[in-house]
Symmetry: C2
Subunit: 149 residues, 2 copies
DNA sequence: CTCATACGGTTGTTTATGCAACTAATACAA
DNA sequence: TTGTATTAGTTGCATAAACAACCGTATGAG
């Protein structure tokens, strides 16, 4: 079980995820050039709010695969930059519902354009079939590691 | 070119690299349980020193795909934890050569065992063929984004 | 109803990243 | 040889992550 370390390929780059680091960096650079004033991490929160506004911080934790303190602070910064607003839930006073501001809504079109463009740069020359295959492998890795946390 | 956003699959998880985050978290957890006292990022530096000791910080930047300040600070912390030592190059006094201490060398066997075990957990149930294919796709993504930085 | 428990969120601490600006040493061209 | 550009590394600042400890609110068993 541990003698296949090299059959499994370059251990280091698999663990450190060079490709996804590269995508995140490029996306950040493209945001900057396009005048999208947000970090990639902030975008990852906004992305889910654009799909459905008014989610709780806990729902954003689940959606973005982050822990609660991380989301608290991302929302802090998004609020500071006037992109979202915390609104206490009337029914359950523990919950903060996060709503986009007009500025936050305005950002969607350009940010998603840049994100799609970035993904196209990243996947240039990779066939649909291989993209799907890679997705399946990465999902399997994710699933393998999720259950037993 | 931007109408294929959904053909390319779930944009968010591709960009955020859920799988590699999950691997890094699991590796950190496994290090802790095995008594390996290093962060995953520190391990990524040690990994290259175990392959070849006495590299410069610049070489470690290239090897680990990090910028110079990141490596400076990782080496700071590794030195603080007595795992490596900076030695000025005699020939070129700008260069720091980084050498493993006895503690740093001692850590190799257990850390690499845990890293391999973690990769096996992550890739359980994925065929060699699909692992190779995923590797090729990720390498292509990396290459696509490297040149034009 | 009450009290233990679970849940949602925040704060503190340490570690790490990216960018820009900087210093010191080297290389190289005029 | 001098002066400019390049290279190696460091520092400052802002953002983000993980973990533990914490607070207030809700829930549900007795």
């Amino acid at each position: 079980m541990s003698n296949n370390q090299f059959r499994k390929g370059e251990l280091y780059s698999f663990i450190t995820g060079k490709a996804s680091v590269a995508i995140a960096r490029r996306l950040q650079k493209n945001f900057k050039e396009a005048g999208v004033e947000a970090t990639v991490e902030q975008w990852s929160i906004l992305y889910h709010l654009w799909k459905e506004d008014g989610r709780s911080q806990q729902q954003l934790c689940d959606a973005t695969f982050r822990d609660k303190p991380s989301v608290t602070r991302l929302v802090d910064n998004l609020e500071k930059n006037k992109l979202v607003k915390r609104v206490g839930d009337k029914k359950d006073r523990r919950i903060n519902l996060i709503y986009l501001t007009p500025d936050g809504r305005r950002m969607e079109e350009e940010a998603m354009r840049v994100a799609n463009q970035t993904l196209n740069e990243a996947l240039a020359g990779v066939s649909e079939k291989n993209i799907d295959l890679a997705k399946v492998v990465l999902q399997k890795v994710y699933d393998n590691l999720q259950g037993m946390l």
